[in-house]
Symmetry: C2
Subunit: 260 residues, 2 copies
């Protein structure tokens, strides 16, 4: 180590300060360029799916808060409708008596307290916020759909944009996803259960994210369906990575026929 | 027990089905009325402060996501500004070259990738969402301010609307807050530390939510300031509960003078 340091010092002493500075700047430029070029479409897709998930969690949380608040005023109506978005829209556009009429109740029968208009306006502020939340989420999903169709048409056609993007998110990059065997793809998103299996000998998980795919979710033998789907996805990803022909539809039809 | 049941059955057999039904309906009506009347202004205030807190957490989470995403495109600018709201507004209103110019950089020197316009539009969707988030939070804070001023003017003047509302939230209702000794008010929001103290003999907490009050936060002896402030708050709450005269300003001035 001491010797290495010495030889480094020797080398340094032979260099003029200017040439060192030039070297540093040149190096910095190259590194910056490398960073700039390392951002691919897959990074953008990963950020998009993460944002969509954050928006989903946030919207649900706020909607629950809204209901708790609004139920002081009109509990019966809130209990009659489970869709958060529709609920928010309705309480903005209609009055309490109209809403109660829809579910066949009179205002006098309600357990809700009589609240001043300006207090209700505050509640509705939150409802408006929740609607813009769902709108943004929808727009981002549309964008994701388009981006996935261009970036990996086969994987997208086979798995659907949300599942494909989630797989990509778990893998970290498209290149990494491409290098994964189908058994790994099958378990992406079930890491916790997998490591519990390896550590404690608990049962091995049979599917991760791809359980959300209709082919797997509807199947009776989910483990088998998950294995087959992961198999095809792993093919589709490789075709996409090497810009092969479009076979996504064929792959999807094949698996749907087999699992009928 | 068996005897009680028997006598209940006897009682029931003496009643006609109609009279029983009438009794049931009458009871239901009274219960509904009691529920309706149990909602006070303090319930609304508690919901408001909970919503404000949810909005705050949500906005911060989304803003971090936005930055991670936007930094693929323009990392230097994101690092130069820490205010999330301002950051979101600026990236919507100005182009990358303008933003980089503001921090004295040229576009060619940036490490950010060149991203298509429609990909950037997706990022900006999230930025717009974050701005509406902060706007809603601000409007609710305004509403809370007004509501607190009307509902408990003394506590509000002494503690400020956010802290007073948080104390109310922790206590559960204004009546409960009114019944609390000042030592309990002092520790509201530090329950975890308090129970750790009781259970394991760790150090006793000296302040909870009221640490956020400028009088306590700026003080050198925070424990003493917290004790004094909790003392005055407990007086203010009782005055508000029994609709006494306005002495909030005097209380606040007294404590500020003492701690100078």
């Amino acid at each position: 180590m001491a010797k290495e340091n010495e030889s480094y010092k020797e080398l340094e002493s032979r260099r003029s300060p200017e040439s060192l500075k030039r070297l540093y700047l040149e190096n910095l430029k190259l590194t910056k360029k490398a960073i700039k070029e390392s951002t691919g479409k897959d990074n953008l897709i990963i950020q998009t799916i993460k944002s969509i998930e954050d928006l989903k969690v946030g919207a649900n949380k706020l909607a629950k808060r809204l209901r708790e608040w609004y139920e002081l005023y009109n509990p019966e109506f809130s209990r009659s409708i489970s869709d958060h978005r529709k609920f928010s829209q309705l309480i903005i556009s209609k009055s309490r008596s109209e809403l109660l009429k829809e579910i066949g109740l009179k205002e006098a029968e309600s357990m809700g307290a009589d609240i001043d208009k300006k207090d209700i306006d505050a509640i509705l502020l939150l409802a408006v916020q929740i609607i813009t939340f769902y709108d943004t989420k929808e727009k981002l999903e549309e964008y994701l759909d388009n981006a996935m169709e261009q970036f990996c048409p086969n994987t997208n056609a086979l798995a659907g944009s949300l599942i494909a993007a989630k797989l990509l998110e778990q893998a970290g990059s498209f290149e990494k996803l491409m290098g994964m065997p189908s058994s790994t793809i099958q378990l992406l998103g079930a890491e916790k259960a997998l490591f519990r299996h390896l550590k404690t000998g608990a049962r091995c998980p049979k599917y991760g994210i791809i359980l959300q795919h209709p082919v797997v979710a509807k199947s009776k033998d989910k483990a088998k369906a998950a294995r087959m789907l992961a198999d095809k996805i792993s093919i589709a990803v490789k075709v996409d990575y090497f810009k092969g022909e479009f076979i996504g539809d064929k792959l999807r039809k094949g698996i749907e026929d087999k699992l009928k």
